[in-house]
Each structure stands twice: as C-alpha cells, then as structure tokens.
C-alpha cells in the first residue's frame, strides 16, 4: 500500500516541520550575520554554502571564518572546530537511547543534523512520547536547510533584517529556557541544573574557548548522580 505509507510519511514530515519553527526562527538571523561576516572576510557564496553544508555548526563556523581571515593554519582551524563540537558527544549519547532498532543508514543521516537546538527539541519530544524518528529527522533537515539558506542569503544581501528586530535574537535563548523547564522533572534535576549553571559560568570565565559546555554538563550530571545515589543509600534502598 504505497499510498498509505506515503500519507503516513507526510504526517511525520509535517510534525517535524511544525516542531522545527522556533529553531528556524532563531537560526535565520544568526545565519544571516554569519553570511555578512563571511562576505566581509572575502568568502564567496559557494564557499559559504559549502561550509554550512559540510559543517552545520554555528559557533564553530563563526570562529572558522575569523580564523580563515587571520591566516590560521588548516590544522589549527580543524582542531579548533573539533574541540568546539566535542560537546555533541554527550547529546548524541543521550539521543541514542531513543533511537533503538533504527538502521545504521538512518543513524548516519540523523547524526549529521544533531545540533544543540535540534538535540534539545527532539529530546523533549521523545520524552513526551509518540515522537517518530522520521519527524526527528525532518526537524534536523529543516533546521539545516534554514541554516544553509540564511547564511548564503547573508553573503548575497547582507543584513536583511535590522539587527535585533522584535527580539528575534532571543528566540534560541527563550527556547532553551523553556526546554530546560521541561527537563526539571524533580528536585535532583533542579539541583543538577543549578550545579551545571554554576560550573558553566566558572569555566566560561576562566577557560578560553567553548569547553565550558561539555565540562560543566559532565561534572553536573556526575554530581547529580552521586547525590541521587547517596540519598538512595541513606534511605536504605538498593
């Protein structure tokens, strides 16, 4: 019944697109400003498109563009990008739990679209239940398309939106705050989040680069787990 399968797929696709909108809204102005920066640094539109397609990681692309301009060596650029994106190890590990029994090909395709934002939205949906992996994949690709297109538009047309139009540069922060609230499903989650915020801030202020996310979140999750286990022991449960 190819028709029926097609209709089902369309449903999952639409669900993915609907869930993607806050991310796309947030990505658009960031992609534009990346394009503007890249154009100032002498990158051609095809170069911007290639970078956004191959890399698809906002923070590291900004840094890579700046490093290209300053004449940094390719090795330095690649290792910086690697360090910045190591945090996705954690996000991918968390998502793996929800992608059991999925083919390797699908996993390979899905992995490409894991960003801070798609991770946060897909995970929330998986936790709420009934979130199909096809919807999750659609969300990844919709956000990727927005990213590639907006960064290339930035190169061609410059700052299309006035900076800060109706607070659009707060879209992703607002989204993260809300998704964090959805994660706070008990006291131990709140304590873990507070420890993470504290560690992240310290690491951000004291260490250069972007290691603060992975350092703070692994420390905080470990501390949270230790507290949870200690409490269980005190209460005499196994």
């Amino acid at each position: 019944m190819p028709d029926l399968i097609d209709i089902e797929n369309k449903g999952f696709g639409r669900a993915g697109l609907t869930a993607a909108w806050p991310i796309c809204l947030g990505y658009f102005p960031i992609g534009l400003s990346l394009g503007v920066l890249a154009q100032k640094m002498g990158l051609a539109p095809w170069q911007m498109a290639a970078m956004s397609l191959f890399v698809f990681a906002g923070g590291s692309q900004f840094i890579a563009v700046a490093m290209l301009e300053s004449g940094a060596s390719s090795l330095a650029i690649v290792s910086t990008v690697f360090m910045i994106n190591l945090r996705h190890l954690l996000m991918s590990s968390v998502l793996a739990v929800h992608l059991r029994g999925v083919s390797r090909r699908f996993l390979a395709l899905f992995a490409y679209g894991i960003t801070d934002e798609s991770f946060a939205v897909n995970l929330t949906r998986f936790n709420q239940g009934g979130w199909d992996v096809r919807s999750a994949l659609t969300l990844n690709h919709a956000t990727n398309a927005t990213w590639v297109i907006s960064s290339v538009i930035g190169v061609y047309l410059g700052q299309l939106l006035p900076p800060g139009a109706v607070g659009v540069d707060y879209a992703l922060t607002g989204m993260f705050i809300c998704l964090l609230v959805f994660q706070l499903r008990g006291p131990i989650f709140i304590i873990t989040a507070l420890i993470a915020a504290f560690c992240s801030l310290l690491a951000y202020l004291w260490l250069p680069g972007n290691a603060y996310v992975i350092i703070a979140s692994s420390l905080a999750a470990t501390a949270g787990l230790a507290l949870k286990r200690a409490k269980r022991k005190r209460e005499g449960k196994p």
């Binding site: 191959f54 890399v55 739990v97 992995a111 879209a171 993260f176 705050i177 706070l184 603060y212 905080a220």
Partner: protein, 107 residues
C-alpha cells in the same frame, strides 16, 4: 587558498564535526547500557541546557566578565515564569522575544 584547498578544509571540518555526532549513536543505540550510565544520561540534558544558557545570562562575551543585569537575564525571568505556568514552547519563545526586545528599547 585554492578552490580544492578550501573544499578539503571544509571536508576536514565536516568530518571532525560529524564524528562526535555519529559515534555515540552507532555505539550506544544497539546495546543495553549499564544502570549507572543510563541514570547519568538522564541527568545530562538538564545539565547541558543549563550550561548552554548560563553564560548568555550571567556573562559579557568580550572580554568574558561576570555580569548581573544584562537584558538577557532580566528577560529570562518572565520567560522562565511563562514556561513554568503555560508549559508552552511557542508561547514562551514569543514572550521571551518580546520582553527582550522591550528591555533593549529602554536599556
């Protein structure tokens, strides 16, 4: 930089970005995780989200210094309240954007 050189650099950047995204998916989605690890992973998302947000709210970017009173932080209060009360992602994002925009107008 030549056209080929640039493409090779992009490819290399793509590979080092892709590997941390793919490796855990392939390794972990097919095996039973030990109990402690599954419990640890359950706490990771709250930790990641909090770690991502904290510097945006409490620190200036260049130079990196601690800061209380950024519009990002002030706008976070109604945003947080809205998230707790409505549990609506769409509503919260819009409230956050409007509060931030309004604060930027006055500050």
């Amino acid at each position: 930089m030549s056209r080929t050189g640039f493409l090779i650099l992009m490819l290399a950047m793509g590979v080092v970005t892709y590997l941390p995204r793919m490796f855990p998916l392939l390794m972990l989605s097919r095996r039973r995780l030990p109990g402690w690890f599954a419990e640890w992973l359950e706490l990771v998302p709250a930790a990641i989200l909090s770690a991502l947000i904290a510097p945006t709210l409490f620190a200036q970017a260049a130079p990196r210094i601690f800061s209380l009173g950024k519009p990002e932080l002030l706008a976070a209060l109604p945003t947080l309240l809205c998230a707790f009360k409505t549990r609506s992602l769409a509503g919260t994002v819009v409230v956050g954007m409007l509060c931030y925009w309004a604060l930027k107008q006055v500050m």
